[in-house]
Amino acid sequence: MISELRDKLLNLSDEISTSISQSNSLNDLEEIRVNSLGKKGLITSYLKNLREYDEVSKREIGALVNDLKNKINNLIIEKKDFFKTQILNEKLITEKIDVTLTPHENNTGTLHPLSRTIEELCAIFADMGFSIVEGPDIETDYYNFTALNIPLEHPARQEHDTFYLQPDENGNRKVLRTHTSPVQIRTMEKINLENFDEIRYIIPGRTYRSDHDATHSPMFHQCEGLVLGKNINMGHLKGCLIDFCRTYFNVEDLPVRFRPSYFPFTEPSAEVDIGCKKEKDGSLSIGSGEDWLEILGSGMVHPRVLEGVGIDPSKYQGFAFGMGLERLTMLKYGIPDLRPFYDSDLRWLKHYGFIPVDNPSLHSGLNGVLS
């Protein structure tokens, strides 16, 4: 009797297996499941009938039926997965898009190349222990000239092409600063000599001269530097500025030349040139060749300037330097013309500007990635 039952079960197994393998849809499969494993299903009915057998047969038949139940269950799950994959694949095909279409633009803006240069300068000088200070664009005659050892009649004044504003109530003539140097004076005035050891400042900012042609703009930018201490000499000036030039232009052995010059507020004074080569197409290669290119002015702070702000030049000395930022930017990034810096032409800003997420730093490198 048991063997008869076993045969029945085997037949049933074959029958259900076949119908599973021949099923065509999830619905067919569900029907098979209900008919075989459901509450009133064929296999389930065998389990219900177990009561009729003795304990030994019960155990034996129970095991057989359970095996069959598990087998069928697994087959159904397997087939179900097959159908699901098939359905998904069909769906994926219908979901296909044309990947060659261009998405609409989500413009990222750019930072102005001058801002980039200022940040690069700040990164270099910060590493040398400098802090950034700023000062007003509208200056008095005193700060812009007199305190810098440029008295009213000085020939150097004529070279400044100064913009004037109305005198104030005390008759002090206001000017648009012609250089960032007046901030040197403002900075030194604030020094508390009681416990003064050393200062290192850079001063970037807007400057103005009444000159407008292909190579001059009535507004331009300079960066001033000031180092003042007890043991700062012209050798430090040289070391500091050589380091700066080589780091900024990213040329390790960049030739840097110091040449005597004259600025009323420094003595001795030096003009700084870097080595370059003028290519046939008119462009410049920085760092090689026979030519020299002037890029900044510098010198030891004039004793008279120090005395003017109450600092004893026999106790403190230091150096100052100044450079034109447009020029530095043009040289490094190959920008041929000064005038578009202030034209705000988007085509120019996008072409010469920089992506905002590339923050210049010494550890990531100072050569800006073009936008």
Binding site: T110, F125, P151, E198, R206, M219, P268
Partner: protein, 800 residues
């Protein structure tokens, strides 16, 4: 300052060549602007004879010429009006580089006639700007030889930039002296015959200056010359002057100009016969005095200008320019020569006030050699005698005594100031070669400054002289010592904020612009500026007259320029100064931006949408958030400045501090600029953002609830004029502990809503903190919220 190589060799004994000298000049602080060696540049140009001139068959203004170089003849098509058969000219063969037109000549056909070269003008050879005709050489000139042999071109010219402190190098001799000190040769003695003169000058000096003004003319010398013949100068003199861009006039004038370039000493020559009376008076002008200068101009003088006058009146502006009436002419036979020292400041002031420049003024302003009048009286006399003949008088002089300038100099100062270690002996030798005298050789030297170096007045100046001649290459390069091993931040918080704001905006699509700090008065006034204090006295153009009160107008100009070149959508920002007054604390920095055009461009999946108020509001809020502002601490007001659209703009403040203005630019302003579409703008005054006294670096602990949040939606009908945000705030305040967020998701006016009312729909997120909320709890939270809206805004739930 321009001079020729041979002129330099008159003063410098040297075995160096011109290239070696030119190499050294910049190292001495004498920047070389140009070296022009025409002998090199023009060596391929030869003399030719024009043997035939025919009219060009196809061109009225051209001739077809045959030129002969003694060997063969060439066809040349020439357009010069002065070309004629038999003349001797300058020829450039094909393949010659012609510097004046920057071109290499090619064999060519001009309107059908072949041309194998060029007959040249002075301009083509860079001899002058003259290109009216071709060069015509004397008929006796040899043909077929390089023009360098025929024309006097063998002397190269050198032009150097002289810094304002080096008046002594505005003469060739000063340059030679520097070169000699630098070991480039020896300074020759100035050779001239010393003539004492055997009669008294017919003109004398008188001083009419107040005692306290006597220093305006501390020294003035003069002497008369009789029976001079003011002929044309000899060619050596004319060539020298031409080479340095001085126009030869007549020998007496040329001699004064020659001496000015030679030793940097301006002179003035009067026609003694035209001087009224027997004296010249140095005095200060009175308001209203008139002066007719040599340049043909008339000047109205101010009070106090230094002048020289005779019995008739003022006829010399001291140190700047002589007068028309008493100047020497070709027929002059009696000359009175003046050499003076005038106060540089007085000269500079006068020159500037009259806007009158001259070579003399340029030199006087920079300070002259105090001893030069003594020497030049003899130097000039010997040249006048040689060239113009005649006799000269004794010298008449007025002179205030002047102390020699002595500087106490400690030789160790050089090392202290520059780090250059230099032997005392070498320092001394350098100074002596430059003309300094050292009288005391102990630890502190007494250094007497030479009379030609008025710029030297302290220890630092002497140090500079020593290291300059010794060479800046000998200054050691010393690293700045590192005080802190790791450098401190270089930026202060405001500078960092400006950088963060820039980056935030650029990431959101804005491009950074830098625009001028000045604009025109109309625009300044539109943006509530344009005050008198901020007007430039000497603007460069009528468009750049006032300091800007806001960055918006200059950005609008930038937008306009972009639209003019075809842009239809743009977003620009700038971080920069704005000016409310002319005091330092009335300048502040602002981050300002504007957008116009499409926020979304029309493409294959979307239709376009323009920027609106809320886009720019989001930009501002995101920027402020990046600057560390808690957005909920901002209060919104509607009293924006007049340049915004009154109904579509807002002001954000923290307490009393103005943080930002934002909104649509006023249509009237847009109309003025010629914009057709609306523009959204904002200005963030980041300097007003309050900075906490102590900035906390560590964050408060993050508290997150493990319980799921619940949302409830409500629609209220409230008064149309009530700001929507007010409703959200009140909703939030109805249960501060549990209501985490209130989002407005619909604003509706119209059908089913009474006039004067609007419907606002909100989604409220309720976050249980300690235990899951029951339906009763949620009912109560909702009821509280509805009640509060009812009491505070008379709002009621919208009926379904």
């Amino acid at each position: 300052m321009k001079f020729t190589w041979h002129w330099l060799l008159d003063h410098l004994q040297t075995d160096k060549n011109i290239n070696e000298i030119v190499e050294v000049l910049p190292k001495l602080g004498l920047e070389v602007a140009s070296v022009k060696n025409l002998a090199d540049d023009l060596k391929e140009f030869v003399t030719v004879k024009v043997i035939d001139v025919k009219k060009h068959p196809n061109a009225d203004k051209l001739n077809v010429c045959k030129v002969f170089d003694g060997n063969r003849s060439f066809n040349v098509v020439c357009g010069a009006p002065n070309v004629k058969s038999g003349m001797i000219g300058v020829f450039a063969n094909v393949e010659t580089y012609v510097p004046g037109i920057d071109l290499i000549l090619k064999k060519t056909k001009i309107r059908g006639e072949s041309s194998e070269g060029m007959l040249c003008s002075e301009k083509e050879l860079t001899l002058s700007d003259n290109h009216e005709g071709i060069i015509e050489l004397p008929e006796t000139s040899e043909i077929g030889v390089p023009i360098v042999n025929v024309m006097d071109l063998a002397d190269p010219t050198i032009e150097i930039e002289i810094t304002p402190n080096r008046g002594d190098c505005l003469g060739v001799r000063g340059i030679a002296r520097d070169l000699a000190a630098a070991g480039m040769g020896a300074l020759k003695d100035l050779e001239f015959e010393e003539i004492d003169g055997d009669f008294d000058s017919i003109i004398n000096w008188k001083i009419d200056l107040d005692e306290d003004k006597k220093n305006l003319c501390p020294k003035i010398f003069g002497r008369s010359f009789h029976n001079v013949v003011n002929v044309e100068s000899p060619s050596w003199l004319k060539n020298r002057l031409l080479a340095v861009d001085q126009r030869p006039i007549s020998s007496l004038v040329d001699i004064t100009n020659y001496i000015m370039i030679d030793i940097g000493r301006p002179l003035h020559a009067y026609d003694a016969d035209k001087i009224v009376g027997d004296s010249l008076t140095i005095k200060q002008s009175k308001q209203g005095d008139k002066f007719s200068a040599l340049n043909g101009q008339k000047y109205d003088l101010d009070e106090g200008m230094l002048v020289i006058s005779d019995g008739h009146g003022i006829d010399d502006l001291a140190g700047i320019m002589g007068g028309e009436r008493t100047g020497v002419k070709e027929d002059t036979t009696k000359m009175f020569l003046e050499a003076a020292i005038f106060d540089p400041i007085s000269i500079a002031n006068t020159g500037r006030r009259l806007n009158l420049n001259s070579d003399a003024r340029y030199r006087f302003e920079r300070g002259l050699d105090y001893d030069s009048p003594d020497l030049v009286m003899h130097y000039a006399a010997s040249l006048v005698k040689k060239i113009c003949g005649g006799t000269c008088s004794k010298i008449v002089k007025l002179e205030l005594g002047k102390q020699k300038k002595i500087i106490n100099f400690t030789p160790t100062s050089t090392y202290k100031l520059t780090g250059v270690e230099i032997e005392s002996e070498l320092s001394k030798s350098i100074l002596e070669k430059l003309g300094f005298k050292i009288t005391n050789n102990n630890d502190v030297w007494d250094v007497i400054v030479p009379s030609w170096r008025p710029d030297i007045d302290g220890i630092a100046d002497i140090v500079e002289e020593i290291i300059r001649i010794n060479g800046y290459d000998h200054i050691p390069s010393i690293k700045l010592p590192r005080k802190n091993y790791i450098a401190k931040p270089a930026m202060n918080i405001k500078q960092r904020q400006s950088s963060i704001a820039s980056r935030t905006l650029a990431t959101r699509g804005y491009s950074e612009a830098i625009t001028f700090s000045f604009l025109n008065e109309v625009m300044a006034k539109q943006f509530n500026g344009g005050i008198e204090q901020l007007a430039l006295v000497n603007p460069i153009s009528s468009e750049l007259t006032h300091m800007r009160p806001s960055i918006l107008p200059t950005l609008l100009l930038a937008a306009q320029k972009n639209i003019n070149v075809g842009s239809d959508s743009l977003s620009l920002f700038e971080v920069g100064p704005i000016f409310l007054g002319d005091k330092p604390d009335e300048q502040t920095s602002s981050v300002t931006g504007l957008r116009l055009g499409n926020k979304i461009k029309r493409d294959w999946r979307s239709s376009s949408r323009d920027f609106d108020f809320y886009d720019i509001k989001l930009d501002v809020l995101k920027t402020l958030e990046a600057l560390g502002i808690n957005i909920s601490s901002l209060q919104t007001y509607e009293d924006t400045p007049s340049y915004f659209h009154p109904g579509r703009s807002a002001v954000l403040k923290i307490g009393q501090k103005l943080i930002a203005n934002l909104g649509e630019i006023h249509p009237e302003i847009l109309d003025f600029y010629g914009f057709e579409k609306s523009i959204l703008g904002f200005e963030i005054f980041y300097e007003n953002i309050p900075i906490p006294k102590k900035i906390k670096v560590s964050r408060p602990m993050l508290k997150v609830s493990p319980l799921q949040s619940v949302t409830r939606e409500f629609a209220f009908v409230i008064n149309e004029t009530t700001p929507a945000e007010k409703l959200a705030q009140i909703a939030r305040s109805s249960n501060k502990d549990l209501i985490k967020d209130v989002l407005i998701f619909d604003v509706y006016k119209g059908k089913n809503i009474p006039d004067g009312k609007k419907s606002i729909a909100i989604k409220v997120t309720i976050q249980p903190l300690t235990e899951t909320l029951t339906d009763d709890d949620l009912e109560k939270i909702s009821a509280d919220l509805i009640n509060l809206i009812g009491t505070k805004l008379s709002g009621s739930l919208r009926s379904q």
